[in-house]
């Protein structure tokens, strides 16, 4: 029993360290990659090749004065950043990040929790993230924040529907809500090939869910200054920031798990190598985020809504119908 507990603790520490490091270094990668797109250099002076930049940013955020404006609703104002940060990191728990490794003759599954309703859990937890946006926008008592939070909550809720339906078709095909079994189901054929429409819908919704370009209108800095976190400073702002990046990592990990066969590589995929495959796939999606950010203009609120409800949702429903018909017949 003790052994199991120790192993679990080690796994938890490892996964969360990896996630937070990924978030921190994602900011650096983003700045360097986008800089490349824009014929700039990005941060290069902090440490070799700017590698210490995330550390410097973190230290800066921690030591900044934590301003709480007078006109805010204090309690809610304090809770909102936590509500952004915690759910974003929690959903990583059920995602299998490798096959299994053997240490000291003991086989360890590379997933924190082999939950039989993993997909549901991810959706439940990420949905809580909307609260942070509503609460922060409302409690800040500022017009820009309010507009940003209205936009954002509407966007997240409406895109979650299509996203859910896209995942439903994957669940139909693989016959399980357990992410490990979904990965196992893709041993021969990745779902990206059997469910291409669902993949595209999931991808689009994933980007919209995380409020990234071209769906970044909740924090459209040219319109709303910074959107729902306009009034936040220091580490409270940092939590929103980490939350956003953790969400990106989670959605990318989900996309890799649901559609790209998770940790299974084309060749050998056992032990450490399976983790490597997983990391590569997640990074591919993260790179796509940056690529889009450097290229596209931003949607307008009404266009975003009509795109979500009038195009993505019918398409997702159709996809589910067709998939279930096919599954039923076969």
């Amino acid at each position: 029993m003790l052994e199991v507990a120790i192993i679990s603790v080690i796994k938890v520490v490892f996964v969360f360290t990896a996630l937070l490091t990924a978030c921190a270094y994602m900011t650096l990668i983003e700045r360097r990659v986008v800089a490349r797109f824009q014929t700039r250099l990005g941060p290069i002076y902090t440490g070799p090749n700017g590698l210490l930049q995330p550390v410097a940013d973190l230290v800066k955020l921690l030591f900044k004065e934590d301003i709480i404006p007078e006109h805010v609703d204090k309690k809610i104002y304090m809770i909102a950043p936590l509500a952004a940060f915690i759910p974003a990191t929690l959903s990583i728990v059920v995602i299998p990040f490798g096959s299994s490794i053997t240490i000291f003759g003991r086989e360890i599954d590379l997933v924190l929790s082999n939950l039989n309703v993993g997909v549901l859990y991810v959706f439940a937890v990420t949905s809580i993230g909307v609260y942070s946006i509503i609460l922060s926008g409302w409690s800040s008592n500022s017009k820009y924040s309010l507009l940003g939070s209205i936009r954002s909550s509407a966007q997240m809720i409406s895109y979650e529907v299509s996203m859910g339906l896209a995942v439903v078709s994957v669940v139909l095909v693989s016959g399980s809500l357990n992410l490990n079994q979904i990965v196992a189901h893709q041993a021969n054929l990745w779902h990206i090939f059997s469910q291409p429409v669902a993949f595209i819908i999931f991808l689009v919704c994933g980007i919209a869910e995380t409020n990234r370009a071209p769906f970044d209108l909740p924090e459209a800095e040219s319109e709303l200054v910074a959107g729902y976190h306009t009034e936040y400073s220091a580490m409270k702002f940092g939590m929103f920031f980490v939350g956003e990046y953790a969400n990106m990592v989670t959605v990318s990990a989900m996309a890799a798990t649901l559609f790209l066969g998770g940790w299974q590589g084309p060749g050998d995929s056992s032990g450490i190598i399976s983790m490597l495959w997983f990391a590569i796939k997640v990074f591919l999606f993260l790179f796509l985020y940056l690529w889009l950010r450097a290229t596209t203009p931003r949607f307008r609120y009404d266009q975003l809504m009509s795109f979500g409800w009038k195009l993505l949702l019918p398409l997702a429903i159709l996809n589910v119908l067709v998939t279930s018909a096919v599954v039923l017949i076969i």
Binding site: T39, S222, E223, P297, R298, R300, Y301, D302
Partner: protein, 389 residues
């Protein structure tokens, strides 16, 4: 149920108002009911200051109005004073002025396309626009030593001769530009999101545009083929071959198309200017008005006296008043100068294109979305330095 509208102050400190413009918005949700531009946050008193300066010394002031198109402002002012003095400008100076004024137009439009796209969310465009602008700023530096506030055009011609490698350097820039502008078009013109954001947004009909005395690309995007370079040719523009691009949409996208097309036309004009650059003097032979060249000032007694007189006392233009309008990148910039015979202008009034174009903002924004306000401000292409002279 009674609903209340929300008043939102956009600016004066706001990332997308291009300086210190403040727009007071009445919002119903995301719908804009009214948009009042509030100006005056960058008031510099340039018109008033000009009254206390010798005619020569007003030139650097004009740089600072529309700081993205310094050469156009210089040109407008110099032409006005030259008209007052009834001066003849040598062809080389005229050709050089045309070439640099067109580069200025490209410069201004590059910054415009970058910032406008940035406002709409295409972030990289801003960097690309500034990258190409750097080449043109380099030309400014080459001719005048200054990157932005060049003050290169002087009353009677240029401040000094063109550098020897001027033609080569300009040709280098002109060779790069078309392919780069085509890159922008690849990124934006057929981009679905860009088209959705701009087509049909901020409509301005031909009639309304004429009624509010809108000029420049906005007027041409509303379907009026009016360009002072063709209508009242100045500085030998009649000797150049170019087209005036027009569109009939009158929306943000049409304005975008007109400006992009104008950049190609400006490249064409600048090309012609350097190809046919005449030999000869770079400033009119007008002792007492045009300062002699530096070598002469250092070596000749008479030249030194003239130089001294011009710097300390200035010159006395005849009594009277004059108005000259030119086609700046933003529209018609006009200089109205009243002379009372003293070496300082009695009154200088500038017809600022940005200010007059900005007055249409409410018409453009009404009924649109909050996001459209940003697109509209961008498409009007204002420089606050010129709005609040």
């Amino acid at each position: 149920m009674k609903t209340k509208t929300m008043t939102l102050n956009m600016g004066p400190q706001h990332p997308a108002t291009h300086g210190v413009l403040r727009v007071k918005l009445d919002l119903d949700g995301e719908r804009v009911l009214e948009a009042y531009p509030v100006i005056g946050y960058l008031h510099t008193g340039i018109e008033k200051t000009a009254e206390a300066k010798l005619y020569h010394k007003v030139v650097p002031l004009t740089d600072r109005m529309d700081y993205l198109a310094p050469m156009s402002n210089n040109l407008g002012y110099c032409l006005a004073v030259e008209k007052l003095l009834d001066m003849e400008i040598p062809p080389k100076a005229q050709w050089a002025r045309v070439c640099l004024a067109e580069l200025t137009r490209i410069n201004s439009h590059l910054v415009w396309v970058g910032t406008h796209a940035l406002d709409i969310g295409a972030m990289s465009m801003a960097l690309y626009g500034f990258r190409e602008r750097e080449n043109i700023v380099h030309i400014y530096e080459l001719v005048s030593g200054q990157r932005m506030m060049s003050s290169y055009f002087r009353i009677g011609g240029l401040s000094k001769d063109l550098p020897e490698n001027f033609n080569e350097e300009v040709r280098k820039v002109l060779d790069i530009l078309p392919s780069r502008i085509r890159e922008y078009e690849d990124l934006l013109t057929n981009n679905r999101i860009w088209r959705n954001r701009t087509i049909g947004v901020g409509k301005l009909s031909k009639k309304e545009a004429l009624k509010s005395s809108i000029t420049g690309p906005i007027l041409r995007a509303s379907g009026v083929k009016h360009d002072l370079r063709k209508a009242i040719p100045y500085s030998s523009y009649d000797k150049f071959d170019f087209d005036i691009p027009t569109r009939t949409g009158g929306d943000v996208f049409s304005r975008y198309e007109v400006r992009v097309e104008e950049m190609y036309q400006s490249i064409k004009i600048a090309q012609q200017a350097i190809d046919g650059m005449p030999e000869g003097d770079w400033a009119a032979n007008a002792p007492g008005v045009v300062s002699p060249p530096k070598e002469k000032v250092l070596n000749e007694m008479e030249a030194l006296i003239f130089h001294f007189k011009i710097v300390t006392e200035g010159f006395h233009p005849p009594k009277g008043e004059t108005y000259v309008g030119i086609e700046s990148p933003k529209g018609e910039i006009g200089f109205y100068i009243v002379s009372d015979g003293s070496p300082k202008p009695h009154r200088m009034r500038v017809r600022p294109p940005s200010f007059i174009n900005l007055s249409s903002l409410n018409k453009l924004c009404k009924g649109g979305f909050l996001s459209d306000v940003i697109a509209n401000i961008g498409s009007v292409d204002i420089v606050l330095g010129e709005v609040d002279r």
